[in-house]
């Protein structure tokens, strides 16, 4: 009860003294403002990048293996892996036939090519060969028509499924179904249109795409191209067994003697996430460093100004002590004052940071989260309490006789 009334008094005095020294308080708090702006912007940017990344990465799927000659984010030098034998269509088909853990599989190959429709053309379209399993493995949703069938893949039929951008650019006013696209010297009939999918990691658009049977792709657009196999596992719990099985099958297909290292790789989403996390923690570390540096500088400023305040108010401290204020009451009073300055600095920082996050939101999903606001305010108050402690302690243990004689 006593403490409560001291606390209320402390808050009152702190607020009163801030109002009396507006300019000084504002200047003092600048370091805190900068620190809080940094921490909020950094936090918002990281959260935004994370959200964007996870959204993109979900296109890969947690339960999908990517079997290819090369390892993602490998530590092995590129010139060693470069010489690995490509995986050919026949090998891929053998793997797909033999694997037992798959819910769906697909064999892919792709190239950037120019696509035409009448007198319209689009360059650098991602033309890819795939199989009937491609829709399920990639989680593709059709807006119109249907996906490639097994018969069309088997017969290397000249049909294709197009991405949302191609559909929008070539057929703004009509349905693309039944129309024929021209890729090199081949006419491909459009049998399906995909829903919009966005971009992958903010770079390649996934909607600027034409998909056709991989058999057709291999025979007409590319001579013995390397292919990649994607295997979607039935059950996430079977990931390890599935990986081992695929590895065994691949080693057999590629005639690797026991003891010879794999000359192919079984990639998965986890590798992306690991790499991203590593990058993330580097950025977060740098942000933390800048933030703590400016908070440290700000804290020193606060400490300095609090020493000045305590010295200026020695007489007042003497009066309060004579009247019966205990050490705790004086300590609380000055800690509250210093915490309040920093809290206002924190609020000011948030007020600056908020419009910047709105601008950032145009480039990535960035929103100032409630927890970040909480952290920012907590950090500023903590800075105030830590920086204010020494001055407040000096005030608290002043001798009342000496303090009353001050001036």
């Amino acid at each position: 009860m006593n403490f409560l009334s001291e606390l209320r008094e402390g808050l009152f005095i702190a607020w009163d003294s801030l109002r009396a020294n507006k300019l000084r308080s504002a200047l003092t708090t600048l370091g805190i403002v900068i620190g809080i702006v940094t921490v909020t912007l950094m936090g918002t940017a990281l959260a935004g990048l994370n959200a964007a990344f996870l959204k993109s990465i979900s296109a890969i799927g947690t339960d999908v293996f990517f079997v290819a000659p090369w390892q993602w984010f490998s530590d092995e030098p590129w010139w060693k892996m470069r010489n690995r034998r490509p995986i050919l269509l026949a090998d891929a088909r053998a793997l797909v036939r033999q694997t037992t853990f798959a819910r769906a599989t697909t064999i892919d190959a792709s190239r950037r090519m120019t696509v035409r429709y009448r007198d319209l053309s689009a360059t650098s379209v991602n033309v890819s060969g795939t199989t009937e399993g491609g829709a399920e493995v990639g989680g593709l949703v059709l807006k119109e028509g249907r996906f490639l069938s097994a018969a069309e893949v088997e017969g290397a039929r000249p049909v294709c499924v197009i991405g949302a951008d191609i559909a929008a650019n070539f057929f703004p006013y009509e349905s693309p179904l039944g129309k024929h696209l021209r890729v090199e010297d081949q006419n491909l009939e459009i049998i399906g249109v995909l829903e919009k999918r966005g971009s992958f990691l903010g770079m390649a658009s996934l909607d600027n795409e034409v998909m056709l049977p991989v058999t057709k792709f291999v025979s007409d657009f590319s001579f013995r191209p390397p292919v990649m196999i994607r295997v979607k596992v039935r059950d996430l719990k079977e990931m390890d067994e599935a990986r081992e099985e695929i590895r065994g099958i691949m080693r057999k297909i590629r005639h690797l003697a026991p003891g010879v290292p794999d000359d192919f790789a079984i990639n998965e989403q986890a590798a992306f996430i690991q790499t991203f996390d590593r990058m993330n923690s580097v950025v977060a570390g740098a942000g933390l460093f800048i933030t703590s540096l400016s908070l440290f500088v700000g804290g020193i400023g606060i400490m300095n100004i609090m020493f000045v305040t305590v010295a200026e108010r020695t007489r007042e401290i003497g009066i309060r002590k004579a009247i019966g204020a205990k050490r705790r009451a004086i300590l609380t009073q000055f800690l509250l004052e210093s915490a309040l300055i920093c809290l206002l600095g924190g609020l000011l920082g948030l007020a600056f940071a908020y419009p910047i996050t709105l601008v950032m939101d145009r480039f990535m999903p960035a929103a100032l989260s409630a927890s970040l606001v909480g952290i920012a305010l907590l950090v500023s108050v903590a800075t105030g309490v830590i920086a204010g402690f020494l001055p407040a302690w000096r005030a608290a243990k002043m001798n009342p006789v000496d303090a009353l004689r001050a001036e």
């Binding site: 009860m1 006593n2 409560l4 009334s5 001291e6 209320r8 008094e9 009163d16 009396a20 007489r315 007042e316 003497g318 009066i319 309060r320 002590k321 004579a322 009247i323 019966g324 204020a325 205990k326 050490r327 705790r328 009451a329 243990k397 009342p400 006789v401 009353l404």
Partner: protein, 246 residues
């Protein structure tokens, strides 16, 4: 049991070259309800004694019993609590908080006693009315005259109903007319049974009390009751001082 009992009190200050003995073995008893003046030349140790009596300071040796309990070796926080409960201070320079209104200044001792805001306000208003400042409660010190400031200080000193009112040169910063007003207030308080100790070097001020303790070089030189002065009432413009022998 006396309210205050000092026994062989020494207060020494350790200086670089020598030790200054501000008080050299002072012994003194003061009963509840007494009105005492402490006099002496400059540097004799009056303020030092005042600080000890007010529990702002502790003696180098000797014992100080206040209300029957030894308070000579208490720590900072215990002394603060004793001051809050038992002592009301009136200073020469008023020592009000400059940025606070009269009301808030008077509320202050109760803030540290943990009294609820409503009760605080109520008691402070009563105390201010008692010193004749009911219409000045929302004024800040710089909006009040010297005499009014000292009245606020008196109200603040009395609001927690302390055992002792301690005043160090309470009229030192006031013109003589205002000083007389404050002294009249003290007389009234004394007649109501408050224990008052006033430090002063002015004979006129001391004569309001009923007992004068004279200090010289840190020792008590004399300690005598005030005899009634002939025609004293006439100095109070119709506010007669209470009969000291009553």
């Amino acid at each position: 049991m006396p309210l205050i009992r000092l026994q062989d009190i020494w207060r020494s200050y350790q200086m670089a070259a020598e030790t200054v003995h501000a008080l050299r073995g002072v012994s003194l008893s003061i009963e509840r309800g007494e009105y005492v003046a402490i006099m002496g030349p400059s540097g004799s140790g009056k303020s030092t004694m005042m600080n000890l009596l007010g529990c702002l300071d502790t003696p180098t040796s000797g014992t100080y019993e206040l209300n029957g309990t030894d308070v000579s070796h208490r720590d900072d926080n215990e002394l603060a609590e004793i001051r809050n409960r038992e002592i009301g201070f009136v200073f020469q320079t008023f020592n009000l908080l400059a940025r606070a209104t009269a009301l808030r200044n008077v509320e202050l001792p109760m803030v540290y006693a943990g009294v609820s805001p409503d009760e605080r306000r109520e008691k402070a208003l009563v105390a201010l009315a008692a010193v004749g400042l009911a219409d000045r409660v929302d004024h800040r010190p710089n909006e009040l005259s010297g005499g009014q400031r000292q009245r606020v200080a008196v109200a603040r000193a009395l609001v927690n109903s302390p055992s002792i009112l301690l005043a160090d040169e309470p009229t030192g910063n006031l013109d003589s007319k205002t000083g007389v007003e404050i002294l009249a207030l003290f007389d009234e308080l004394a007649s109501k049974g408050n224990t008052i100790i006033v430090v002063t070097h002015e004979e006129k001020v001391a004569l309001h009390s009923r007992r004068i303790v004279r200090i010289l070089d840190g020792n008590i030189a004399s300690d005598e009751q005030v005899r009634r002065v002939e025609g004293r009432e006439s100095r109070f413009e119709g506010k007669p001082a209470p009969d000291p022998s009553a």
